[in-house]
Symmetry: C2
């Protein structure tokens, strides 16, 4: 588990270097094989949906040839937003492991808490706060520089 | 407005013909020019995020070269889900006009009601129920055939 989060943190750092909000994600199957990994690319690709989680899920699903990945886990450095939480549910992921909690934009432990809604038809296992300090430090440095 | 919803309904019917859940969307700028239109393609493209709304937003943003489309309106035949509602907010759309209400999967008037959450940083104007009967009839026919 720590190895995948370390990779996700490297994707987040690479995103920051590209001028993107530093969030990274790694999609892993039940054998521990990496299917996809990416960082935020919303500005680079002019795509408001190009969050790290969505890019990893889309790439993994394309590789599998199926929109459903029920044996897969997603490691992501920040609590997914409402869009990404719902995408995780639609992809039927088994588990989501995230780093820093996001009171301002998170959609799992904050806001609409999608996985707890009756309109959510698949809720993955959730593990939050893994390597939280490192993920938060990346974000803090990024936004400090922006100001 | 009715013309764009008619186009969205045609996209929904085309989606049904491809074996997809029949939802269609049309993205329009403030001059009434169509930037993008599409229907659901989650199965065809093996992409759980390939909802009509996301595809229209992604195509419109790519065409503009910007992840933000603050002058644009989205016409969609069904109440957007949580993922699509959040994508609409992230894209900073001006307005969303939808057809049928979706108590089982909707994310605007149902479930987490994303636009009403403190974690939502841009809420568009919302007009629901436009051509609701036609949109609902398409969905009903599709799911009746599937059973």
């Amino acid at each position: 588990m720590p190895d995948f989060m370390t990779l996700a943190l490297e994707e987040a750092a690479a995103a920051a270097a590209r001028g993107e909000v530093p969030v990274g994600a790694v999609l892993v199957n039940s054998k521990g094989e990496i299917l996809a990994q990416n960082g935020n690319r919303t500005e680079e690709w002019a795509d408001p949906t190009a969050h790290a989680e969505v890019l990893a899920i889309r790439a993994g699903a394309a590789r599998r040839g199926s929109p459903r990945l029920p044996d897969c886990d997603l490691y992501v450095t920040l609590e997914p937003c409402a869009m990404c939480a719902a995408a995780i549910s639609l992809a039927r992921l088994r588990r989501v492991v995230f780093g820093a909690y996001d009171p301002k934009g998170g959609g799992i432990e904050h806001g609409g808490r999608f996985f707890q809604q009756p309109t959510c038809h698949h809720a993955p296992e959730v593990i939050g706060g893994v390597e939280e300090t490192k993920a938060a430090a990346l974000l803090k440095a990024f936004f400090k520089e922006k100001r």
